[in-house]
């Protein structure tokens, strides 16, 4: 009798947990459904290729070409990666392999805190420090630029790259390192020839997650890019990111209008980029048996 009751309680608990767990997947599914439902109608009046590659975006003329935004997003993301990847990998190697314990205990929480700062705060910091510095050092009328966006995004994705890389470097079996040292390898040789190659899948996963964050970042970017709807051609040009357009124009677009649909189509692009990046990184992590974060 007692046995049966316990069995029932367990079955109920299991079902309840299953229900909660499935909710997460369901929400994702609903997000996809609604974004696509609102975004797809724009392709009745413009074909997807023209939408992606069109250079002009003027809702007043009903012209929707997303290329300036796609270009700006790609540029700031690439710029951010070029800064954050070498810096992040060096920092994670230092933390995992070289730093004395006290330094690790000081830096690691600081980096975790950095990851938790709201992005609007980063944006304000960038506006005051980065934008001004660019104005002064390059003697340009405004420091709001692709460069400013790249720099602030680099700072924002650094914690992701560092913490995932550090985890994956620390997961390199001690036996590999001992084998290397036992043959008379120096620290540098062991790190460059054994540790980093072994940790590479985890490091790549970290970079991809950082990239996803950079592409999707909105608040910090909108404050420092200048938000000009043209294709940026150099680092000091202003530009407008995919996320910025949505944020700035959604308020004025009438629900159900082509403008409204076009903004949702931009979010479809964002969703698909970030979704594929996160699948790639999950795939890499699963292959290596590492956990993110």
């Amino acid at each position: 009798m007692i046995g049966k009751k316990q069995f029932n309680a367990e079955a109920i608990a299991k079902r309840t947990l299953f229900l909660f767990a499935i909710t997460g997947a369901l929400i994702l599914f609903l997000i996809v459904v609604f974004i696509f439902k609102e975004g797809l109608p724009i392709f009745n009046q413009i074909n997807p290729v023209d939408f992606m590659l069109g250079g002009e975006w003027s809702p007043s003329k009903d012209v929707y070409g997303a290329l300036p935004f796609i270009a700006a997003t790609i540029l700031i993301t690439a710029g951010a990666l070029m800064i954050a990847v070498p810096l992040g990998i060096s920092c994670s190697v230092f933390l995992a392999e070289i730093a004395p314990k006290w330094a690790r205990e000081l830096v690691r929480p600081a980096i975790e805190l950095l990851a938790g700062i709201p992005s609007i705060v980063y944006g304000l910091f960038a506006l005051v420090v980065i934008v001004n510095t660019i104005e002064v050092s390059f003697d340009v009328p405004t420091g709001e630029s692709i460069l400013a966006g790249s720099l602030i995004l680099a700072i924002m994705i650094l914690p992701i790259i560092i913490s995932i890389s550090q985890d994956s470097i620390e997961a390199v079996p001690r036996a590999y390192k001992e084998g290397s040292y036992a043959m008379g390898a120096t620290d540098t040789q062991t790190i460059t020839r054994i540790v980093i190659p072994t940790a590479t899948p985890g490091i790549v996963a970290g970079i991809i997650l950082g990239m996803g964050r950079a592409i999707g970042e909105t608040m910090a970017v909108v404050l420092v890019l200048g938000n000009v709807e043209k294709i940026p051609t150099n680092l000091l040009d202003q530009g407008e990111a995919l996320t910025s357009v949505i944020l700035l124009e959604m308020g004025e677009a009438a629900v159900g209008s082509p403008h409204y649909n076009a903004l949702f189509a931009l979010s479809m692009i964002l969703f698909m980029i970030v979704f594929s990046l996160s699948s790639i990184s999950n795939h890499i992590i699963a292959k290596r048996g590492l956990r993110p974060g």
Binding site: E178, S180, Y181, M183, G184, A185, T186, Q189, I194, T198
Partner: protein, 252 residues
């Protein structure tokens, strides 16, 4: 009678506050196999890791005393640890080939020590693999990943990797504890062959193995070396009661 290759004098080691080795003295002869036996936690692995200064890498370790190799104390301040470890190879409990090809595993040592010439490298790699009695099993697949080999093959690959650095001394830290009896037999045979050219120290928890492969045996208990002598004598006619208790299986 062979020369003394390693002389250990009054060696003490602490992990933080805990003393793990106490006044160990030992003479290890050239071209002989010296086995170290004793129950788990007796300090035999800690001891062998003192001989190539692998314990340097562990935080909170303090060492006093001397380990003289060819008359030179390896704990002197002017000793280059990297050069020292090149002269003293080491094998570990669990085979630890690197996650790369068989060839690259064996070429790792010569490469880091500056052998760039492809032809010479290939020769060194082949010699190493032959020296570890692995050539016939892997010669046709040197480019495959070393992790695809069996445990015993992996351990012999690690021996090949060590031989490629051309050491004088090889330390084996329980090299067969993760292997089956057949793989163990091959390693033991190999150790027997290797002593012609190398001085060998082996830690083992397997007394039969010590009796089979070694010329000299040291018995460790609670961080002290209780007895040291010719293997045959130590097993047949131990001086100390503790040694006798251990080898007859009354303890440990």
């Amino acid at each position: 009678m062979s020369m003394e290759k390693i002389i250990v004098r009054e060696l003490n080691l602490w992990y933080g506050e805990k003393q793990a080795l106490e006044d160990v003295n030992m003479q290890i002869r050239e071209n002989r196999v010296t086995a170290l036996i004793g129950p788990s936690g007796c300090g035999k692995s800690t001891f062998i890791r003192c001989l190539n200064r692998m314990n340097d890498r562990i935080e909170g370790v303090r060492i006093t005393g001397k380990v003289e190799i060819d008359g030179k104390n390896i704990y002197d301040k002017d000793v280059d640890v990297v050069a020292l470890r090149k002269r003293i190879g080491m094998l570990f409990q669990k085979p630890n080939p690197f996650p790369m090809s068989i060839y690259d595993n064996v070429a790792y040592g010569p490469r880091i020590h500056g052998t760039g010439d492809k032809k010479k490298l290939r020769e060194i790699v082949e010699d190493g693999i032959r020296g570890a009695a692995l050539w016939d099993e892997v010669s046709d697949r040197l480019e495959t990943n070393a992790l695809d080999l069996s445990g015993g093959q992996q351990q012999r690959l690690c021996i090949a990797r060590t031989l490629a650095v051309k050491p004088e001394i090889i330390l084996f830290d329980e090299p067969c504890s993760a292997l089956d009896p057949i793989a163990t037999g091959k390693i033991e045979e190999l150790i027997h062959d290797l002593k012609r050219e190398y001085t060998i120290v082996i830690v083992t928890h397997n007394m039969q193995q010590a009796a089979r492969v070694s010329d000299y045996t040291g018995y460790f208990l609670l961080g002290e070396m209780i007895e040291f002598g010719k293997t045959k004598k130590l097993f047949e006619n131990p001086h100390k009661k503790e040694t006798e208790d251990y080898i007859t299986g009354r303890f440990g």
